[in-house]
Amino acid sequence: MTSTQDNIVTRKNWLHDVRLVIHQTKFEQLFFWLNRVGAIFTVGFSVVFLVLLGASAGNQRVASLGGIRLVQYYVPGFIAYGVMAAGFTTLAITIVVRRETGLLKRLRLSPLPAWVLIASIFISTTIVALVQTFLLLVIGRFGYHVNFPTSWSAMFIAILLGIMSFSAMGVAISSVVPNQEAAGPVTSIVFFVLLFLAGLWFPLPPGSGLAKFSNYLPVRHLMIAMDRSFEIPKGVSPWAWHDLLVIGLWGVGATLVSLRRFRWSPRRT
């Protein structure tokens, strides 16, 4: 009898938690779209960049990538950008602001379990990345005749792994940002330097010093993984296992840093 009752209670709790994740995800989404800065920085930026770059230099051919058009290179590039902007920059800024204004502490003191909060943020970030991926694909396809990915599953795996790892990196960097004022500048500078080094704006010549250096950083690997799902360069396998592994390792490292350094409340003065 008791074990049956226990089962019922456990199942009820489980259902309750799932409902809690849905509830919190709904408000994370509301939070993201109402806070227009985040929405503009992620979805807005990538769409505007694609449109502008596509219209200006989009038809140039890139010899190092098998002669594909530049705009074809930009679509997976900006999908990767969006994943990183949502997971890394936006999340890091959001966490710092929430921590410094006491919102995290308040959540900590509510019955919302920490894992529900983390799961909701992850799901919400994924929704943002998918909305943006959809927009980029549609604009690329119908505006610039860019191909859809050769392997949809390879693209989705790269997006999901990218969000997990870059979110972990966002949390990790948020723990070293001292206050709200520094959150935007610090994360944006780090982010744009990484993007430049990884060749988002201009493809890196293979074998160059910059390409070698950025092999140790996660950004380029996410861009490569995304490119490969679009069969860039031509004839490659869409599964970039090596690159996915590097992204995953950065994610694990960032998670370890986050677990050690994460704070729920502002630093005591």
Binding site: L30, L34, L103, L109
Partner: protein
Amino acid sequence: MTLALRVNNLAKSYGNLKAIDDVSFDVERGEIFALLGPNGAGKTTCIEVLEGFLRRDSGAVEVLGVDPGERRHLRWLRERVGVVLQELAVESFFTVRQVLERNAGFYPNPRPIDEVIELVGLSEKGDAKVKRLSGGQQRRLDIGLGIVGNPELLFLDEPTTGLDPAARRTTWDLIRLLSSEGTTVLMSSHYMDEVEALAQRVAVLSHGQIAALGPTASLGGRNDGEVTIRFMLPANVAAKDLPITTSGVEGDIVEVKTREEVLTLHALTGWAIANNFVLEGLTVARETLEDIYLSLTRQDREETSTRTT
């Protein structure tokens, strides 16, 4: 079980600084209990240990019968305990209703949103964005977030700091209402009038220790302590002609400190009537909580300074 909180020999340090040191008190269910003390006395640290937010160094703590320092109790506890922090913490681009709906969803048995909005006096602001609210209104929303889960026990860390006098009264009424519904309240404050108006019992904290603990009305023995009678000396009367012993005369103002105020007043007023004197500016004052509080914390301050020198 009638105790909502049990605190025994609680201690917590930050590095070398002893934030609270050997603090013990109990709070009964349904009671409003206040922690009174100056900034840095350890009020917030004490509350945060009870909330399970901070780890204690030593001592025993029970909140609604369980130890908040044990992780496995925390969720159960947080479904039953409401918290209002000292700092304002509300998302600025949500509406009042959205913030409350979000938090209500965390609790198994929340209060209806409209009722909460009504209780905290924000009926006309339900659909307003939080950033459009005044500081006082945001503070009241903060309190609304503390009670939306229908808590059995409510922690209020300086609930009216920064509120205008009218908003303070509204908040007091709300706290009294919650208490009348059976909610236990542990509040901290550095306003004497607030503690006097709300709390049945009070602990005065000073430098992390309890300087005094007892019913608010009789703290430090002030209900049977000295009473100060003041009045203006009638014209052409010298202090030595008075029928009572004075404690001091400053200009025309006579001050009499006595533990037998009824007898003293009888003698004084009888003499005045018989001689047709008017006792201008006559006042009778019992020691206020503030007097007690200041003398308690002053003593402690002096002790600390002798210890360190």
